[in-house]
C-alpha cells in the first residue's frame, strides 16, 4: 500500500479538527441552531435560508474556505484527510453554511489545472461557491446537464444546487458545440434566477437555477474529466459530514437512553435499545475509517480514489439512514415532536443520504470498478 499508516492525518490535521470542534462547541450549541432554522414548523412553508453570517465570516477569517485551495492559487493546499476532519466537526454541529459547497467547487477547479486558478484565487479571497451541475432528473452522472452554452451565454436550468442563496459564485457545467465545459458565474449575474426549493432539511438551502442568456467565464473545456477527478473528494467530505452528524445522533440518543426511565430501568438497559445503538456505533466507525481511507487515497493513491470514495459514501448513506431512524425511535414520543432537536439531524441526514448518490448508486459503481462493467 502506498498510503501512510496514519491516513496522512498529521499534527496540523489534528489541531484543525480540535479547533473546529471547540469553535462549534463554543459558538453554536444545538439550541441556537434550532432557534435559527426551526422557527416556522408549517409543513407547507418555503425554505427560509436562515444562517449565521457573522460566525461564517469568522470561519472564513480562520482560512477554512481556503484549506483545500492549492498553494499555487495562494491556498493552504491541505490534504483531503485534514479537510475531512474539519467537515466531520461541521457535520456534528449541523452548521448551516456554504463550506461544503465551496469545497466541492474548489476540488473541481483544482482538477482543471491552471485554467482554474483565477476562480480558485477568488475562493482564496473569501468568495463562496457551489456546483450547478445537476439536471432536473437529479442524475449524479458528471456528463448530465440541462444547461447549454452558445457564444459565451448560458441557457437552461441546473437543479439541486446546494446553498444557492448563500454563495457568491456558481461553477456550472454546460454543453456547447465542443462538448461539456465548466463556467464560473456570479450568483447575481443578469439573467440568472435562483428558485429556492422547499426541502425537508432545515439546515440546508437548495435551489434550482434558471439561466437566461447569462454571460459566463469558461474555466475548462474538459468538464467531464475535471468533475470525475473531483467527485471522490466531494463524496468523501459529504461522508465525513454524515459521520459527524451521526455521532451527534448516537451520543444524544445514548444520553437520553441513560436518563429516560421505563419499566424501572433506564431505556439503555434494554437490549432492544442497547444493541441497535451498538449497531449505529459500528456503522459510524466503519464509515469513519472508510472516509479517512478514501481521503488518504485521494491525497496519496489517486488511482484508487474513486473505489475508496464509493465505499465511503455507500457506507455513509447507510449510516445516515440507520442512525436517524434509531435516534427518533429511541427518543420515543418526545423524539416525534418539533421541539426535540433530533429532527434537525434526522432531516439533514436524509438529505445527505441521497445527495451525490445513495448507497445503491455508489455500490453499483463500485461493482463496475471491482467486478468490471456489465455489457
Amino acid at each position: 500500500m502506498a498510503q501512510p499508516d496514519n491516513f496522512g492525518f498529521g499534527e496540523e490535521a489534528t489541531l484543525l479538527k480540535e479547533s473546529a470542534r471547540k469553535f462549534f462547541a463554543d459558538n453554536f450549541a444545538t439550541d441556537k441552531l434550532h432557534g435559527m432554522v426551526a422557527s416556522d414548523p408549517n409543513p407547507e412553508r418555503m425554505s427560509e435560508c436562515a444562517w449565521d453570517r457573522d460566525l461564517w465570516q469568522q470561519m472564513v477569517d480562520l482560512g477554512w474556505t481556503a484549506l483545500a485551495v492549492p498553494e499555487v492559487a495562494d491556498g493552504l493546499g491541505m490534504p483531503v484527510a485534514a479537510v475531512a476532519g474539519l467537515v466531520e466537526e461541521l457535520g456534528r454541529a449541523a452548521f448551516p453554511c456554504p463550506l461544503l459547497s465551496t469545497l466541492n467547487a474548489t476540488y473541481v477547479l483544482a482538477a482543471c489545472g491552471s485554467a482554474g486558478e483565477t476562480a480558485l484565487g477568488e475562493i482564496t479571497q473569501g468568495r463562496t461557491a457551489s456546483l450547478a451541475i445537476t439536471n432536473k432528473q437529479g442524475s449524479w452522472e458528471a456528463a448530465d446537464t440541462d444547461v447549454t452554452c452558445e457564444q459565451g451565454k448560458l441557457n437552461g436550468s441546473a437543479c439541486f444546487v446546494q446553498e444557492a442563496r448563500k454563495v457568491d459564485r456558481l461553477l456550472v457545467s454546460a454543453r456547447n458545440a465542443a462538448g461539456l465545459s465548466l463556467y464560473w458565474v456570479a450568483t447575481d449575474a443578469p439573467g440568472l434566477t435562483i428558485h429556492p426549493d422547499a426541502i425537508v432539511d432545515l439546515t440546508r438551502d437548495q435551489a434550482h437555477i434558471q439561466f437566461d442568456s447569462v454571460e459566463a467565464l469558461e474555466v475548462s473545456t474538459e468538464g467531464v474529466a475535471a468533475l470525475e477527478q473531483a467527485m471522490p473528494a466531494i463524496w468523501t467530505i459529504l461522508a465525513a459530514d454524515i459521520v459527524g452528524a451521526a455521532e451527534w445522533q448516537l451520543q444524544t440518543t445514548v444520553e437520553y437512553a441513560n436518563t429516560r426511565q421505563q419499566f424501572e430501568h433506564p431505556l439503555g438497559f434494554f437490549q432492544a435499545v442497547k444493541h441497535p445503538l451498538v449497531d449505529v456505533m459500528v456503522l459510524i466507525d466503519q464509515c469513519k475509517s472508510l472516509v479517512y481511507n478514501a481521503a488518504c487515497a485521494i491525497d496519496t493513491e489517486p488511482e484508487r480514489a474513486a473505489e475508496y470514495a464509493h465505499m465511503a459514501k455507500a457506507s455513509a448513506s447507510e449510516t445516515a439512514a440507520f442512525a436517524s431512524g434509531r435516534s427518533v425511535q429511541y427518543h420515543g414520543g418526545i423524539g416525534f415532536t418539533w421541539e426535540c432537536f433530533v429532527h434537525l439531524y434526522f432531516k439533514r441526514q436524509k438529505h445527505s443520504q441521497m445527495l451525490w448518490g445513495d448507497a445503491v448508486w455508489h455500490r453499483a459503481r463500485l461493482a463496475d470498478i471491482l467486478m468490471g462493467a456489465v455489457a
Partner: protein
C-alpha cells in the same frame, strides 16, 4: 373480505340485506373537503362536521353499535357489527370520526361504568355528536403506562384531578376523555384508577388543551393539562385501584382483540388522499428517473419494492387467516402482530419511497416539483408516530415474545 364463507345466522343474513340497501340509498356523495388519511389527522372543523354527519346518519340507521344493548343506545343485535362493517367498507363510505370513542371508550364504558353513565354517554358517542379522546400517556409514562402520575384526590363525592397528559389525538375536538390516573402513590399497579372526564365543557375550568407539533410540522396531537379539575365520583369506572384492569379492556379492544367488534367504515377517498402503500410506490418509481431510465426499471429498486409487496400482502393475508381457526396455532398470535407489522411496513415503504425519489426525495409540501406533492417524506416521518405510539415496536415484540411464545418476561 366482503362476502364471508362462514355460515351466517338468519339475523345476519337479513341485516346484511338491510345494510346493503340502506347504503345504496344513503351513502354520502363526494366530500366537499379534502379528507385526511385517518380520523386522527382531522385538522379542520369542516372536515369534522362532514364526518360527524355521516356517523350520525349511520347510527340513526342502526349501523353503529349494533351489538350493544338497546338500553344504552345500541341495536341489541347479535354479532351484527361485523356485517355492518363489511357492508360499509364494501360501499366505500367515509370513515367515522369518533374512532377513539367507538374503538376504545365504548367497550370500556359498557363493561365498567355505572348504568346511568352508560345511558348518558353512549348514545352521543355512537352518533358522533360527542368526540372522545384518550388520556393515557404522560411525559414520564410512555410505553410504561403504569407509571402515570396524574393524580385524583378525593373530596367528598368529587375528585380533584391534577396532571399532564400528552399525545392525546382529537383532544381539540373532544367532549370526553377516558383517563387513566393515580389515586394512590404507594402502589404502582393497584394505585391506578380510571375515569371518564369532560374536556370541552371544562376548558378554562381546570382543563387546558395545547397542540403539540410533530416533526413533520403538523399539529394533530395535544397536551392536556389538568389543574384542579373537579369530577363527580360517578364518572369513576369500576372500583378504586382497578384502573389497570379497566385499561386492559381498552387496550384489548384497541388491538382488535376484544369481544366487541368495533364499528368501522371507510374506503371513500378524496382527491389528495395519498396512501403509504406499494401501489403508490410503484407509481412513484415509474415517474422517477434513475441513471437515465425510470426507477421502475432498476432491478434493485424492483427487488426492494417487491420485498414490501410481499410483506404488505402477508399482513393482509394474516388478517384473512386470523378468521380461519384450522390454520391458527395460538388465538392471539396473528392479532397481536397487526400493529407491529402495519407500522413497520409503513415506515419501510416511506423510507424506500424517499430513496426512490432520489434527489427529489428531499422536496417537501411547499414545493411544486415535489413527487406526490411531498407527501412521501411526510408519510415517512409520520411512520415514527406509528412505531412509537400505542406501545412502541420494542414493547410489541416483548408482548409477542412473552404472551405468544411464552418466553420469560423482560421487565
Amino acid at each position: 373480505m366482503p362476502e364471508s364463507a362462514r355460515e351466517e345466522t338468519a339475523e345476519q343474513v337479513e341485516f346484511r340485506a338491510y345494510c346493503r340497501q340502506w347504503l345504496k340509498d344513503n351513502r354520502p356523495g363526494d366530500p366537499p373537503v379534502r379528507l385526511p388519511l385517518s380520523p386522527l389527522e382531522i385538522m379542520t372543523e369542516a372536515q369534522l362536521t362532514y364526518l360527524q354527519q355521516w356517523q350520525k346518519s349511520a347510527y340513526d340507521a342502526g349501523l353503529i353499535g349494533c351489538d350493544y344493548p338497546k338500553a344504552v343506545g345500541g341495536g341489541g343485535r347479535n354479532d351484527c357489527q361485523r356485517v355492518a362493517n363489511e357492508e360499509m367498507i364494501r360501499a366505500k363510505t367515509p370513515f367515522m370520526p369518533n374512532v377513539i370513542g367507538l374503538g376504545m371508550a365504548a367497550p370500556t364504558v359498557l363493561h365498567h361504568a355505572q348504568e346511568k353513565v352508560k345511558e348518558q354517554l353512549l348514545p352521543r358517542l355512537f352518533s358522533g355528536e360527542d368526540i372522545w379522546c384518550q388520556g393515557f400517556s404522560e411525559p414520564g409514562a410512555g410505553s410504561d403506562l403504569a407509571s402515570v402520575q396524574t393524580f385524583a384526590e378525593r373530596k367528598g363525592d368529587k375528585w380533584i384531578i391534577n396532571g399532564h397528559k400528552v399525545w392525546t389525538s382529537l383532544a381539540h375536538f373532544a367532549e370526553w376523555m377516558i383517563l387513566l390516573l393515580r389515586t394512590d402513590r404507594s402502589h404502582k399497579y393497584d394505585g391506578l384508577s380510571y375515569f371518564v372526564v369532560p374536556i370541552r365543557s371544562a376548558l378554562g375550568k381546570g382543563v387546558t388543551v395545547r397542540p403539540l407539533i410533530k416533526i413533520t410540522g403538523e399539529t394533530g396531537f395535544n397536551e392536556v393539562i389538568f389543574e384542579d379539575l373537579e369530577v363527580d365520583d360517578i364518572y369513576r369506572l369500576d372500583e378504586l385501584g382497578k384502573g389497570w384492569q379497566v385499561a386492559m379492556t381498552t387496550l384489548l379492544h384497541e388491538r382488535g382483540a376484544g369481544e366487541l367488534q368495533t364499528p368501522r367504515s371507510g374506503g371513500m377517498k378524496s382527491k389528495s388522499t395519498h396512501a403509504t402503500n406499494t401501489t403508490n410506490l410503484i407509481e412513484l418509481a415509474r415517474n422517477t428517473g434513475r441513471n437515465g431510465k425510470p426507477a421502475a426499471d432498476d432491478p434493485l429498486i424492483r427487488d426492494r419494492i417487491m420485498e414490501l409487496v410481499v410483506r404488505e400482502m402477508g399482513l393482509g393475508q394474516n388478517q384473512r387467516r386470523s378468521r380461519v381457526s384450522a390454520l391458527l396455532d395460538h388465538p392471539a398470535r396473528l392479532l397481536l402482530q397487526n400493529k407491529l407489522l402495519a407500522s413497520e411496513i409503513a415506515q419501510d415503504t416511506g423510507a424506500l419511497a424517499v430513496e426512490v425519489a432520489g434527489a427529489s426525495g428531499s422536496l417537501y409540501l411547499g414545493d411544486d416539483n415535489a413527487p406526490a406533492g411531498g407527501q412521501w417524506p411526510m408519510a415517512y416521518m409520520n411512520s415514527y408516530g406509528m412505531t412509537i405510539a400505542a406501545g412502541t415496536s420494542e414493547v410489541q415484540r416483548n408482548i409477542l415474545g412473552e404472551r405468544v411464545l411464552g418466553l420469560a418476561k423482560s421487565k
